[in-house]
Point group: C2
Chain length 710, copies 2
Amino acid sequence: MLEGPLFSAAPSTPQIQQPYPGVWRITFDSPEGLTPVGTRHYPPAAASLDALPKAGPCPLPQDAIDGQATRGGYIVSLPLEANELVYGLGLQFQSFIQRGGKKMLRVNADPKMDSGDSHAPAPFYVSTRGYGVLIDTARYATFYCGSTDRRARHTRTTENREPAQDPIAGVLPAAYRRLRLGERNEVLVEVPRVAGVDVYVFAGPTMRLAVQRYNLFAGGGALPPRWGLGLWYRCGSTLNQDEVLALAREFRERKIPCDVIGLEPGWQTHAYSCSFLWDKKRFADPATTIDRLNKDHFRLNLWEHAYTHPSSPIHEDLLPFAGDYAVWGGLVPDFLHPEARRIFADFHGREHVALGVSGYKLDECDNSDFTGNWSFPEISRFPSGADGEQMHSFFALRYQDTIQSIFDRRKTRSYGLVRSSHALAAPYPYVLYSDLYDHKEYIRALVNSGFSGLLWAPEVRDARSTDDLIRRLQTAIFSPLAQLDTWYMKNPPWKQVERRANSAGRFASGWEEIEAQCRKLIELRMRLLPYLYAAFVRYRKQGVPPFRALVLEYPDEPETWTVDNQFLVGESLLIAPVTAEESKRSVYLPAGSWYDFWTGERHPGKRRLDVTVPLDRIPVYVKSGTLLPLAEPALHAEDETGWQLTVQVYGAGETPAVLYEDDGSPDPQFAEVKLSWDPERKSGSLERTASISGYRYTVNQWQVIGDSRE
Amino acid sequence: MLEGPLFSAAPSTPQIQQPYPGVWRITFDSPEGLTPVGTRHYPPAAASLDALPKAGPCPLPQDAIDGQATRGGYIVSLPLEANELVYGLGLQFQSFIQRGGKKMLRVNADPKMDSGDSHAPAPFYVSTRGYGVLIDTARYATFYCGSTDRRARHTRTTENREPAQDPIAGVLPAAYRRLRLGERNEVLVEVPRVAGVDVYVFAGPTMRLAVQRYNLFAGGGALPPRWGLGLWYRCGSTLNQDEVLALAREFRERKIPCDVIGLEPGWQTHAYSCSFLWDKKRFADPATTIDRLNKDHFRLNLWEHAYTHPSSPIHEDLLPFAGDYAVWGGLVPDFLHPEARRIFADFHGREHVALGVSGYKLDECDNSDFTGNWSFPEISRFPSGADGEQMHSFFALRYQDTIQSIFDRRKTRSYGLVRSSHALAAPYPYVLYSDLYDHKEYIRALVNSGFSGLLWAPEVRDARSTDDLIRRLQTAIFSPLAQLDTWYMKNPPWKQVERRANSAGRFASGWEEIEAQCRKLIELRMRLLPYLYAAFVRYRKQGVPPFRALVLEYPDEPETWTVDNQFLVGESLLIAPVTAEESKRSVYLPAGSWYDFWTGERHPGKRRLDVTVPLDRIPVYVKSGTLLPLAEPALHAEDETGWQLTVQVYGAGETPAVLYEDDGSPDPQFAEVKLSWDPERKSGSLERTASISGYRYTVNQWQVIGDSRE
């Protein structure tokens, strides 16, 4: 009955290198080649890594990490100290603190259980002790983050063991007691099918710096075009070109800001699988249609997925560069193979982007263990040498590489949506979305996304009520991509939230009032555009996630450790969304003092606040000292009125704000626009480091909100 | 970037053997030793296999099955013909037809998604073409049951491919069209971490015979003691010995049949993890308590799990025979090791069974990927050589071996509950249960359990309403173990369904009426006891699942293929449960004609019936020709009034009924009691093959239900 040993006899001695300042690679035995680092498209942002504060020695000493071959895989053990928490592992919907959990990082659509399955699992975590760890694998690795209980530590002496005593237990809810935070433990990572693995460690010393180094190692954060930060509206999928144009006109006429119109499956001759050909019955003249949209400052975004229908003109060419299993009868391009990327990109460039298409929504690129099992199996084989397990981890990123190559060649920026991602995703101008729809989970995903170099769109689709519509829109406008995705109805949801009545043109009485409330929220998004854009420039240059959890900024305040329903946007804004079920909520304000954006009321930090939230407000707090630039609410991002700013001065206004001007090219020179406030003279100033053609901000007004002597 | 090949260069040539008539073993390369067959406790029921109808050649020719080593595992491909469906894969809650699905067979508690995770995944499926397949592995194998689309079959010729044409598409709901039933496909099974695998094929020629051969290969079906088929009642976990005795008295006084009282966690000094020691504060004198229960014909069943607390007297002895990770601070016994089994069984035998304990409820023996990650990791190591992945698959079965050894040594039968199981489970007198609680899923689990040699208890716990209580109890009385598990309240649920009010003794007004309805249902269970017992004897002797899907009996009627909410009990009863949400339902009656048990109305078969169902009835249909023996409704299974039968004659009563008498020992001699009806003379007869000490049936009355000339 006895079998060979599960583990190799002795732990191996790892090789350690420091390829970039503050970044260590620890190599155990013989890693495979097809890994996130091994197949990366973007090089590390070496200069930006150099520019970060210097890191000391590796925060995890080499001898603190063990690696051993197992039966059919490899296992790594990393230390976990008492009272140390870890976060990340990609786009997790149901959990926040990852300590205490076991997560198997499988790529999957619509994970409804907290098992690690995710649209975008990333084998990266960040610790409250100020370091990050990337396990460089495309395998479905299992992370045991202090959830296990190695028996060597348990003998008779643990008899009548009480729940762990720890200094911060008191501030955490009772549910967290099971985490045994007061005990040392370990993070165990099991990687199947490999004979070794590279572990990357990213130094802090702060949590945020560790994430910054991870994002810069990935290549630096994505920089969307300005129009990408305006409103996105995806039309009903039955609309034809005239109806789309009419809808666009309606937005302009009714003064609802909008930058991007998205088309859903209906635009192609075949959608499941995809032909990538315009359906001329609905879109007889796509070039003219796009031209007319562009002239009115709309961009067009196209839905698609990659599984290529036999009727597609590229099917024949792609056949030799595809996997051995089909999806919906369509072939699965091997995007790890340069020929597959070239064939796919050339066609898309010629047939769509050349006509003015601004970008794509890349659907169905995850996996289907919970959604009807339509995807290719893990045992698939691809010409590049990848198997299906690896390909599921890579598919979305290499698909994005393919699509981005079109825009890179044209030296234009794009911004789009994608339903899957993985490690080293920061440079990709693609925002994740899901067919799941729980509002609280959407908020948690937004909070979690910033740990792992991901962007997440809590898009507005259905609404059970107008309250639900407005509450969801409030969250959407404080996200990387503010989108209404009403693919199943013909008219904007503020006219009627009920699907069938909407499409039948039966509008709710008093819908203009709801429209007005939505318009106001979208206008707020447009007013924040310079601020949001600056946050993205810092994502590009310094790796700072534009949307991030409180704990990432304030890990020394244990109260922030559990906060999965508030987040920071840019340097100075704290957002605490409310769902339709709620009329009040609790908000934690960290150190410093904070101003209510709506009332100007000042609240001291390091405490909880119970707030009652009227429907027309989402709780927003501005850090004392902030200079908050607000644009005029333009109808689209190219409207020059949006470059005229009102600067709100909070508290003493002692923290200069930096905005960025550039020419909109993919890798531009930036002019820094520094806003400063002199509290004595009560006057503000704008300094510009350079003169760049393109957007140029001017300040129309300085508006003192808080008492500047506070 | 290119790696080594995913698959070995050439498929290997398998070795084929026929160890038993109608059972073939096909060996691919070098299987590992720790498999369900390799670690089996019960030998195949060779004589019973011999007694089945002869099988022809192997229903899957050797050259129809391929096997190949993959990177880190092994893959097997089996044929799947056009219009062939497969069922099984263990205790699946969310799916029924397995064709079209991908299932990863991980052992897990509370799987809320249809991913293959299950309390009791079994790597066995049965086909409508009348054969079964067991993949002999304890690994988390992935089954792709015709869900994949091997690209070789897709070329330009599939352009504009329409949904598959197939002769039976018309009878299946639209949702099944995606299964592409009209096409040939394959069942792919990927087994990780192995270098080969044994595939067992079980011949029919009928679907039911294939399952019978699988169950007999497992050792034959479980035979519970008669008392196991009475009512089970699990007390509130806070009750002490006096309160338990008082509750038992209440059952007898209020004439509610009951055979088994179950204790929940409160009886031990430590429950998470377990000490296995009586808590003398609550149970000062367990021996006397059990004695008093036994004298009143109650059996006592004890809840426990196997994770052994340091304060347990066996902890020290078990230490060398335990896994290297703890669960809830308790050690994990290596039940694959004979010493662990011996230590564990000796203690339980001495401290519990010797006092009169009749059996156990073996909890928490699955895994915790969806329930807080409390269990041991897959990378655990056990002294037997098993790793954690294997041990999760084995744990419940080897735990049952351990506990059964106590009763085997005492030559008594036991019957109990267990929360996990796997392959070759038929001989185990343990019934599965779950903390999930969807009534429709509970019914589907009951229907599915019969495909895979499993027993399932749709126990009654919570009830949202008295309707819910009654509807759930109706399902429970037509199941292998009829249990009320009210561990969180002090009083029977018919007095008050609301937990807190129940425990506070605030009973609903008119509760006596609800109690009367419940009593009536439990009495029906007691009346069916001889019939149910006979069905279990046939499970033991012939491997026929006592509870089974319609398709298993009527695979030639495509209408049965999707029926996951009706089931057959024994030879002649068709049950169609109703949930609290419903007042009517559709029932499919297969070939033959069927009588409504409640009204005696006759319905022709091969058609659907829409029935309105009053709260006091669960739809039950009796096959025409049946002689249905009904006992007097005794208060417990040892009451001799229960041996006096009324035999209901349905239709012409042409099918003799066979009951069984025996002495109650674990492996008894049976006397067959054959009931026959002469429709001409309108008289019945009872013939007995032998005289056995113990139960002896007598017929008090023959009752003609249907018109015998029909």
